[in-house]
């Protein structure tokens, strides 16, 4: 089994924020934090980007509206042109309504599946659950993870740095 990373446990949210900042100052970038509630300061330290989901939703909405409109156009102009009460074949006012509804449906689907994809779901297991003290049932502590993928990572050095930054305990995590 290979090593996935090192998990440090902190008792207070402030200690976690301070330690994350300290590790960032030492040049670490491949880090993640786990806490029972959101901590705003961590967004900047861990370089958590704003959500890209709105763009996915917009793209999904526009694509599916265009698709629905194209389907209607194909059916009335090419596949089955039929004169309805003397209206032109390309009767855009009613078509817009259907395209709009399809756009809403596409946006909703894009939001649902985009959210799953952006969160890396479905994910049946994550290496951090291999840690001894992880999980809300064991006290809801604050965790900082340093991945082995980080270029600055040196097993002994990293552990020592985390301890000096105030970690209650430091644990190696198997992948």
């Amino acid at each position: 089994m290979s090593l996935y990373g090192i998990l440090a446990v902190f008792g207070e949210p402030e200690a976690l924020v301070e330690a994350a900042g300290g590790m960032r100052d030492r040049g670490y970038r491949h880090m993640d934090a786990f806490s029972p509630f959101p901590i705003k300061e961590l967004d900047q330290i861990l370089e958590i980007r704003g959500s890209r989901l709105p763009w996915i939703v917009l793209a999904g909405g526009i694509a599916s509206a265009a698709l629905a409109y194209a389907l209607i156009l194909y059916s009335v102009e090419i596949d089955y042109p039929i004169n309805v009460g003397g209206r032109p074949l390309h009767s855009w006012p009613p078509f817009l309504v259907i395209a709009f509804e399809a756009g809403i449906l596409g946006a909703a689907f894009a939001a649902f599946f985009g959210m799953l994809a952006a969160n890396g779901l479905p994910c049946y297991h994550h290496p951090v659950f291999n840690a001894e003290g992880f999980g809300y049932a064991r006290g809801g502590k604050f965790h900082l993870l340093v991945e082995t993928a980080d270029p600055k990572y040196r097993k002994g050095v990293t552990k020592g740095q985390l301890r000096r930054l105030g970690a209650e305990s430091v644990e190696e995590i198997e992948a």
Partner: protein
């Protein structure tokens, strides 16, 4: 009064003087321009009244932030009603059904004369005024003070909104639809009510954001930007209006009946198509901008979005009301300019005066405390 308010008031009075000259030169052209401007002005307090009553039923922190500008807007309703007096004196110049020989009217209009006659028209207008005056008395009274209790007036607001809906329906049918008496549209009253709400809310946002950033105001939560909340409400109101406006077009386009589609034919030719494109462009701009979080959270962005929405509403009112009334081509548009400046100046001066001194509306507060 501050110099700013005095300046607006003087501009308004100058506009009114020009209006008087215009009425002396050509009363029919002047009254046509006057009516469109008066309907726009009345739309703002009516929309504000609607939002105040809806917020009285639902609550929510967005309403606390916009309450003061909406109250000041609602309190200008009597002035906006006075703007209709000049039209009342010469109804025949504006409305084809008033004062005309029934024999000269088309068959479809003659059948409507049981409803469209001057006596009944005046009676209905008086009824609308009575309803609105009582409603602004209730709405202003119960929203006065810093920390009034939400939800206590639920029943009154519920009944009030029903009456208000009736009054706005009657008003928009009488004063807007009946300019072309052969035209019918059952969705028009709701279309107008939605437009009023959009305009009042957009103006409230502009007033709030004119001087300072919106985020620091009472009602703002820590993690949700108030400006974004307000912009999202505006987007919701705008979508309601777009839906109703489009539904009227869709139904009439689908039926393609001469009396109905004529309304759109008139508004799609002789230069009116440019106003239509302008109003579509402004509203598309506002809609697309309201989707962007950065714009909604930025001070200038919020101001710009609300201004585009209000300008779109202005174009919408002009486009709906003016075509049947404008007879002499673009030159007579100067009537519109003086009417807008005159009424707009007077109304704006009163609005800003009341907004800066909410205690001047104390009459309402005291009355409500006793009742």
């Amino acid at each position: 009064m501050s110099r700013f308010e005095q300046g607006i008031l003087i501009a308004g009075i100058a506009g009114l003087v020009c209006c008087a000259a215009g009425a002396w030169l050509d009363a029919k052209a002047m009254l046509g321009a006057w009516l469109a401007a008066a309907v726009f002005m009345l739309g703002l307090p009516l929309g504000a009244l609607t939002i105040l009553m809806v917020h009285g039923l639902t609550g929510g922190s967005w309403g606390r932030a916009v309450r003061e500008p909406l109250r000041a807007m609602t309190a200008t309703l009597p002035l906006a009603l006075i703007f209709f007096v000049p039209v009342l004196t010469r109804l025949g110049l504006v409305f084809p059904w008033a004062g005309a020989d029934p024999a000269t009217l088309p068959e479809t209009v003659r059948e409507k004369l049981a409803y469209l006659n001057v006596e009944f028209f005046l009676l209905r207008f008086v009824g609308c005024i009575a309803i609105w005056l009582v409603l602004i008395w209730i709405a202003l009274g119960s929203t006065a003070g810093r920390d009034h209790q939400m939800g206590r007036n639920g029943k009154r607001y519920g009944v009030g909104l029903i009456l208000h809906g009736l009054a706005v329906s009657v008003f928009s049918t009488d004063w807007m639809l009946s300019l072309e008496p052969e035209f019918t549209s059952t969705v028009f009253a709701l279309y107008e009510a939605a437009a009023q709400v959009v305009a009042a809310f957009a103006l409230a946002i502009i007033v709030l954001a004119a001087r300072r950033a919106v985020d620091v105001m009472p009602g703002a939560k820590e993690d949700v930007a108030l400006s974004e909340d307000l912009a999202n409400m505006l987007l919701g109101f705008l979508l309601t209006w777009v839906y109703l406006a489009f539904m009227q077009w869709l139904v009439i386009w689908g039926g393609d009946l001469p009396d109905e589609i004529h309304w759109y034919v008139v508004r799609g030719h002789n230069g009116w198509q440019y106003v239509l494109w302008l109003l579509i462009g402004l509203n598309v701009l506002a809609f697309a901008g309201l989707l962007s979080r950065q714009l909604k959270r930025a001070h200038a962005g919020l101001l710009g979005l609300a201004s585009a929405t209000l300008a779109g509403h202005f174009a919408d009112v002009f486009w709906r009301l003016r075509p049947p009334l404008l007879a002499h081509g673009p030159i007579s548009l100067w009537h519109d300019v003086v009417a807008w400046v005159g009424m707009g100046g007077l109304w704006l001066a009163l609005f800003i005066f009341l907004y800066r001194r909410p205690d001047r509306m104390s009459l309402w507060k005291r009355e409500a405390a006793h009742g």
